[in-house]
Subunit: 239 residues, 2 copies
Amino acid sequence: MQHSNPTTDPSASEQAPQHLQDASSRWQRRKDARPEEILDAALHLFSEKGFSATRMQDVARAAGISKGTLYLYFSNKEAIFYQVVQQRITPQLDQVESMVDASTGSQADLLKQLINGWWLGVACSSLSAIPKIITAEAGNFPELARYFTLNVVTRSRKLFSRVIERGMQRGEFRQYDADTVARLVIAPLVQATIWMHSLKPYDDDAGTQQYLQLHCEFILNSLLQDRSPNANSSEGTMP
Amino acid sequence: MQHSNPTTDPSASEQAPQHLQDASSRWQRRKDARPEEILDAALHLFSEKGFSATRMQDVARAAGISKGTLYLYFSNKEAIFYQVVQQRITPQLDQVESMVDASTGSQADLLKQLINGWWLGVACSSLSAIPKIITAEAGNFPELARYFTLNVVTRSRKLFSRVIERGMQRGEFRQYDADTVARLVIAPLVQATIWMHSLKPYDDDAGTQQYLQLHCEFILNSLLQDRSPNANSSEGTMP
DNA sequence: CTTATAAATGACCGGCTAGTCATTTAGGGA
DNA sequence: TCCCTAAATGACTAGCCGGTCATTTATAAG
């Protein structure tokens, strides 16, 4: 089967491995730097092509090494993905968790912060493709799916539902099932992110900014005790 | 690579091809029935494993024929998918479109009908896996992605945005960008459907019923002119 | 029953890729 | 400077899968 992909050209020369361009030697020993470089390259390619479709050969080239060298640092393809999650996502979650714990302002503001933070930290970052990759490959890599669900999905949702719950306890929010509300808050975010990496190129986009803004507004319209959704006003600052 | 999939055991004997179990002959000529049977088998397997991971061999076995026979009826794997879309999705869309055109009641009711209809007709049907498949494989099968976006996604969204637009024109709904609202209405539905076929097995579910119900309620809280989100009352009938 | 034909088969081919390992070579230490 | 060792290489293997085609066989017509 031949597939001509409009967005990614497999025959295009990868960006030159920019570590030390001097032609003094065929290669260098760089034991310490390799793992990070490999993870960077892998994350970038996973984002572009997905997990299955990314060839170890491609990861190697993008990292400026040969295929064999990959296996000096990672036992197999899945191990690379685990490390990507462990080293790039978990620390961010830790950070956001402590941010939520330390917060003192209104829960509405905090919720907005979480939504915008998620957007900037995931949708607009190098992690952007992870949700699509995970959902796409869950069936073929169940261990990986279980790991991700436990260590990222559930934790993230708890973060949202804790804020929502707190808002309800303080009388700032109306009473709903916090976990369900959290799902409703997150779903459009995740969906938009998956979209970016799947059908967006074929769809005439109507502006992500407005989408995010309106989502915030709708959620708070229903959550906040003292708001009727009249003022279509600017809802604080959106990035 | 070895993957042990908890939900699907590849070595398990497929359900016996139940057409005429008598052992009188090794096989029968059934030119007319084959295409439908192949599409059924394919849709079922695509739902279970995704597009790439479904082997033509598996489709053949599930349809009760040999691999070679597949190619008497479909020119290749992608052709099977196109037919699945064309024969199982497009007709449903036609039907819903005329339903919307013929509708006379309130746009809020119509919108609720659309949401529930989408849920029953997609999430709870054999088409349930299509959104996941398409988003997962879009990168590797761009033609297929373009076709689906044009013929299903855009059409569906137009359906929703038309109803929303009409509601605004009649003063039943508040003024927003109809297309963006349509995206916000659809996103949690699609997201939940993708979820069902990816990480749901690893996540402790909190009840899909409540999710759908609350989604409807939140959307209408913001859209309807004369509602403040006080009465957490039952929001009409949910299936 | 015999025969013609087209439906159905499944061994096979070609291409592709995760992972291996004998060989090469960078570069620090003596 | 030379040597040693471990970092790096890339040709190679094994196995998988979409698609083909020469062969087999159901079955309808004569």
